[in-house]
Subunit: 456 residues, 2 copies
């Protein structure tokens, strides 16, 4: 009997602890049994709690079919790590279990020569090779080739025979109807085959509203079509011949919709347009840095504009000219961190991480970008304030502190809100910004008042 589950029923702390113990004791048989009933999505989540080497052991104990699904469900970074560590023949037998479009997705991420080697041993290699030709974010890159067509002249009986004869993994909620030249003309719903007498011509029950998309359509537009017409799948056609090349199912479209929304959020926040939670620290820093540097320079320009307009108070009070850039940077850094947290919480991506690890990684990213921004700020400050080393040190050091404190609040406030049941998105935006403004100003001007005494 099914439980009414929490979103992730099987992956509780006790279960993870059991797996950890069995791993340590090397009890492979018991471990294989413990893993046997795990859904692939849950298994992929479980992997996040273990080291790469332990993952290899766990992976080898899954049955080949589950292992293949786990490979697909893992985030890209973990998948690449795992593929690097397992033996080529284990990889081959896993890939053989995948549908051609999934195999193409995995191979498309690998080094070209390794992918070519793995591909060579696969049964449906020509199909996979063809799929690899399409750009990953086109309809062709998203589609699966496991679909069923039926000739326009067929009867329900013949269509049912076709559906029965197709591969078990083929999508058969819709069958696609083609004319004698192989061109797509309509689709027929599986249920209509069941409710119609066997001799009914397919023509009488088919639906010509197929909402076909061309192979080169952008995946975002494909998502738009599926969303718009509430269909379970859309056929992908060659725009010249109107032959069906594949289909895109609604579950792939949800992933696209989620990814596109995340991409927009990350881009608005300037965190680089990828999957920040699963990237190594240096890469996250590298992707965020350009957006911070882009706002750093106009920030200093604002200080210069103040001076041009005749607002230079002179002396220590000249530090006021850089308050805007300090506040601006703290705002950007905390928006980057809080956006990653809010999106990660919404997508359930943070479930398998510990708080200290999340915070630690965000702080490490902040240390890297903060050091670069501090160096730039110090240099600009040195020139701006008449080659005064004291000013330069205050500006650089405050920049580093401001970036660090912004990253910490930007990470902790959304996570804290989530824990106490307040919507993290609602609280994070304005609250975090204001907090950072005040803290940033206190650090900068407070430090300034004290540090400059030492230098002068």
């Amino acid at each position: 009997m099914p439980d009414t589950p929490s979103p992730n029923p099987t992956l509780d702390e006790a279960y993870i602890a059991t797996v950890r113990d069995l791993l340590k004791e090397g009890r492979q048989q018991a471990l294989a049994e413990a893993l046997a009933d795990l859904h692939p999505s849950d298994a992929a989540d479980l992997f996040a709690s273990f080291t790469p080497d332990e993952q290899v052991t766990l992976f080898s104990l899954l049955d080949r079919e589950t292992a293949a699904d786990v490979l697909v469900e893992l985030d890209r970074e973990s998948r690449e790590d795992l593929i690097d560590r397992i033996r080529p023949d284990a990889l081959q037998s896993t890939l053989a279990e995948l549908e051609p479009d999934e195999a193409a997705d995995v191979l498309g991420e690998m080094e070209p020569d390794e992918a070519a080697e793995a591909l060579a041993g696969l049964e449906d290699r020509s199909e996979i090779a063809e799929l690899l030709e399409y750009p990953p974010d086109s309809a062709g890159g998203l589609m699966t080739t496991e679909f069923v067509t039926v000739p326009e002249a067929a009867t329900v009986r013949e269509a049912i025979a076709r559906a029965r004869g197709a591969s078990e993994t083929a999508h058969r909620d819709y069958l696609y109807v083609t004319d004698t030249a192989g061109r797509l003309v309509a689709r027929v719903e599986l249920i209509k085959l069941i409710v119609s007498p066997p001799e009914t011509p397919i023509r009488n029950i088919m639906d010509t509203d197929v909402h076909a998309v061309p192979v080169d359509m952008d995946r975002e537009q494909v998502a738009d079509v599926v969303r718009r017409y509430n269909v379970l799948a859309v056929p992908v056609v060659d725009p010249q011949t109107n032959h069906v090349k594949g289909i895109i199912t609604v579950d792939d479209v949800i992933d696209v919709a989620d990814q596109e929304a995340a991409e927009d959020m990350y881009r608005l926040a300037g965190t680089g347009a990828t999957d920040p939670l699963h990237q190594p620290v240096w890469k996250r820093a590298w992707l965020r840095l350009p957006w911070l540097l882009i706002t750093l320079l106009p920030g200093f320009l604002v200080g210069q504009i103040m001076r041009w307009l005749g607002y230079d108070p002179g002396g220590t009070t000249a530090l006021l000219l850089f308050v805007p850039v300090m506040i601006e940077m703290a705002g950007n850094v905390s928006l980057q961190s809080s956006t990653v947290m809010v999106r990660g919480l919404a997508m359930g991506d943070l479930r398998s991480y510990r708080l200290t690890s999340i915070l630690g990684r965000e702080v490490a990213v902040a240390l890297l970008v903060g050091t670069v921004c501090a160096a730039v700020s110090g240099a600009v400050g040195y020139i701006f304030f008449g080659h005064d080393t004291g000013f330069a040190v205050v500006v650089a050091f405050s920049m580093l502190c401001g970036v660090l404190s912004a990253a910490i609040t930007g990470t902790l406030v959304p996570l804290g809100c989530h824990r106490v049941g307040v919507d993290p998105a609602l609280a994070s935006g304005p609250f975090v910004t204001s907090l950072n403004d005040i803290v940033g100003t206190l650090i900068y001007l407070g430090l300034g008042a004290r540090l400059l005494v030492l230098f002068h």
Copy 2:
């Protein structure tokens, strides 16, 4: 033969112009024919180009089934407008065409007494009334009650008979298997009924991994379950009895995923957590105002902190103390506008609006919030700068100008990027912020230098 469509194939300018002409000439027969082949989603988009009164005419010319679907596809504001204008019997006959969950959604938005009146005339009113009891953002509020169950002891032949006998609109991609006490035990895929011999016991082909969700689960968690397990539908059960109360299909979940992502984005940007493009100007202003006021006060506090730390340059140069709050507000306002644009573009919601209308509405919102913020800023400035009217006027007027210019850049930059094929999200964040910082500072301090001469 199907075309390979652009995302919205039928709704070109020429078609809209034709409909407009036919409407003007009052040629109802020709108009009905022009509307006949329109998909409900496209018809709903078409309505956006016409006045409420014209919409009533168009609505009356659609066949009842299409009209019902159009009512569901319209945005909430337009739907409420339309319902207010059509005759009660037209509304009744439209509602009768809807599935119970859709009817409940429409009725749930209406005034309680009007909803009760409309409900009284409907055939499946008890079912709809039950659905109305569930909160709109729970699993119960999202589910449809048109599903098919089959007893555990049945054979494939009996299950097929059940599927055949069900309502045409029922979802039958999965059938739900119950025990003798009516409790959910498993699901069976429709295709398995087709590929299995008629006398096969359902027990042999059913799948006990049903991923049931309780009626009171939050819709965001439901979306998580569907996304996670790649299913076409999840059953919704009473957590006490484990009886199936309804099902939630994947197309409803896409909408949830999109809405939740939009909600998070709007919340991070502080625009109020609803559907900003389809709300009247005053409401958009009202929803954004709290977030602006919340950041306004800490912004002034930063100025005060500067003074406490001993950084008051005095004279006209004291205007520097409010540069942070000016920049902060411009940043918030432009983030609000650009987030609404970026999300609107991504969801295709802006397709049916003209540029001047989008910009005009954003500027109107900015005028409203800008006036309130200017008044508050002027008052704070008056007190802050020793009851000096000149300072107060400069602060208030600059705040208004800064908010207006931020709304304009925040609207035009994403739309401009979209037009020239640059990702609006990518360009909007850092670019718009920097632009506003510089423009805001120039306005505030430039105006200050000139205006204060007049007052002193």
